[in-house]
């Protein structure tokens, strides 16, 4: 079993991905509590958001602080598209939702191309602040275009969710299975990306941004591609969130929304691939239990993050992986 797990191949990852999906479907029926289903869905949506940011933070070493811009772009694109007459005119009918999701990915990807092309020229804190500045521009635009976006009210009035391929997203089970399937699929693709030569190129830039140029390597292209991919996936997460909430809100483009995936990365760990997903789980569970019992959510979240940062000095999954490796080495030595 362990030798099977050790094999670091796409096929192993694909098997694990499929198994996790089947497992979560089973969970849906074993635990018939809609609250639990809701948490699991949200964990995957936010997990995608955090994982996409971790491409930049964990693997490229760039602390992007405006990632919510792409999340919001994805959400508003999906909402506006589904509300528009466009669908009727061009008769997308039952394919409205897949088209809307693809469009969200595309729009946030294009946005990331423009923002990224400018931001990646900078390093460190300058990079972080410029991404933040662009995000606040997007936020202001959303607030200003009241006629289109609904301003600070958010995108109201809902939108239709026509069934496609027998999937009716207005049914809880369909939505649950669909969201998790898409998320796991994208996580699988991300995993491939991170383990590919391209992904190791990112680690190379993270470790030493100067040296690759002297090895004949084009840093800037590599960074930009990573930025676009991260933005597109954040857009996808945003579109799924919009589908869940049947709306989109300007807070999703506010800077506090960019801090959320950062918290998840801190909580879960940035050096282990699934760390941010684990972080999303902790974040959601905290959110659910704490807000049910007290109004001091921010205080509790702050204390938990502090205890992780000062106590473990790393994210939970990073810590678990290191402990696991240590005990395995000890066992190997004892033998």
């Amino acid at each position: 079993m362990i030798s099977f797990l050790k094999k670091d191949s796409f096929s192993r990852d694909a098997c694990l991905a499929l198994l996790s999906w089947v497992f979560l479907i089973v969970v849906f029926f074993i635990i018939p509590d809609p609250g639990v289903h809701d948490i699991i869905q949200k964990v995957f949506i936010l997990g995608l958001f955090a994982l996409s940011l971790n491409i930049l933070i964990g693997y490229l070493g760039l602390i992007a602080f405006g990632h919510a811009a792409f999340f919001a772009a994805g959400a508003y694109t999906l909402g506006l598209f589904l509300q528009s007459d466009f669908i009727k005119i061009y008769n997308f009918g039952s394919f409205s939702i897949p088209v809307a999701i693809l469009l969200s990915i595309l729009v946030s990807g294009v946005l990331a191309t423009f923002i990224g092309a400018i931001c990646i020229r900078l390093k460190d804190i300058y990079f972080s602040f410029l991404t933040l500045a662009f995000q606040m521009v997007i936020y202001s635009i959303i607030l200003a275009l009241v006629d289109i976006t609904g301003g600070d009210q958010g995108l109201m009035g809902g939108f239709p969710k026509p069934p496609f391929l027998g999937i009716d997203l207005s049914k809880p089970f369909d939505f649950y299975a669909f969201t998790i399937f898409i998320s796991i699929l994208v996580i699988l693709v991300l995993r491939q990306l991170i383990e590919s030569p391209f992904g190791y190129g990112l680690r190379m830039i993270r470790d030493n941004a100067e040296r690759p140029a002297a090895l004949g390597f084009n840093n800037q292209n590599h960074k930009l591609i990573a930025f676009i991919i991260a933005g597109s996936i954040a857009g996808l997460a945003g579109s799924l969130q919009a589908l869940l909430d049947v709306g989109a809100y300007p807070e999703w483009a506010f800077w506090a929304k960019s801090a959320e995936p950062l918290f998840m990365i801190l909580l879960g760990g940035m050096n282990t691939f699934l760390g941010p997903l684990m972080g999303a789980l902790i974040f959601e569970i905290l959110n659910d239990f704490v807000t049910a019992n007290t109004k001091y959510y921010g205080l509790v979240l702050g204390l938990v993050i502090l205890s992780f940062v000062l106590g473990l000095k790393q994210g939970l999954l990073d810590w678990m992986v290191i402990k696991f490796k240590e005990s395995r080495n000890k066992n190997a030595q004892n033998k």
Partner: protein
């Protein structure tokens, strides 16, 4: 092989490189010496395209490379190792070398295969052997000794299969014993590959022991050039550089 004509570079009125002209023969080891601030590293930066010269021209094998950038000169066959060790601290020796080899073959844009499945073992083993890093294959670079980190830096440059290898103080920060080990390693490496080498060095004994031709830089200009035994006797050099330290 490398030809530099009347190269000049100044930073806000201070001349870092002043009218340098030199020509390296193929398959030779050449040294640049000179006191701090003589413009040695600047000269390297001008050759590799990290800096652009104010005037003058640089050729490699009769092709002009004066205005190419760092990435482009690499493709023309120039590789360098750095004065301050310049490696990838969180990657293992093998991963670093593999990345450099893949980079050379433009393999790092590939997203659809696994990095681990790429087999560059033959090339990587050869380079690790040349640099004496075979035993350290799976060690994280930041945990290597200072000397091994320097060797890894050189190994990364070798992955590019350069025609010209620039070594910026390969023995910087080393004890006497380690220095000689490093020099022996470089000598051996040169014997095996016959790459043209240009290196910067402070230690006179080392320079005279290994270099076939020496260039003495002072305030950006070439004060003297020639074989080690001629440089030793050169009055200008003795006065400007050797005189102070040796009695």
């Amino acid at each position: 092989m490398l030809k530099i004509n009347n190269l000049e570079k100044s930073f806000g009125g201070i001349i870092a490189t002043g009218n340098v002209t030199l020509e390296l023969q193929k398959q030779t080891i050449n040294a640049v010496i000179g006191p701090n601030g003589a413009g040695k590293t600047t000269l390297f930066n001008l050759i590799t395209g990290k800096l652009k010269p104010d005037t003058g021209k640089v050729f490699i094998e009769n092709k002009e490379i004066t205005n190419l950038d760092e990435t482009e000169t690499t493709q023309m066959g120039i590789a360098r190792a750095f004065q301050i060790t310049n490696i990838f601290p969180n990657l293992t020796v093998y991963e670093s070398i593999k990345l450099a080899i893949l980079s050379k073959h433009n393999g790092l844009n590939n997203m659809w295969t696994r990095f681990k499945d790429h087999n560059v073992n033959y090339e990587a083993d050869k380079i690790m052997k040349l640099a004496g890093l075979t035993k350290s294959k799976n060690i994280i670079s930041s945990e290597l000794s200072h000397g091994d980190q320097k060797l890894l830096d050189i190994a990364l440059a070798l992955c590019l299969k350069p025609k010209l290898l620039l070594l910026d103080e390969p023995t910087a920060g080393m004890g006497p014993e380690e220095r000689w080990k490093m020099i022996d390693r470089i000598k051996e490496l040169w014997k095996k590959t016959k790459i043209t080498i240009l290196f910067i060095e402070h230690d006179m004994d080392i320079v005279f022991g290994i270099a076939q031709k020496i260039y003495v830089l002072q305030q950006g200009a070439i004060l003297a050039e020639g074989r080690p035994k001629d440089i030793k006797k050169d009055q200008k050099v003795i006065k400007a550089y050797l005189g102070g330290g040796k009695k």
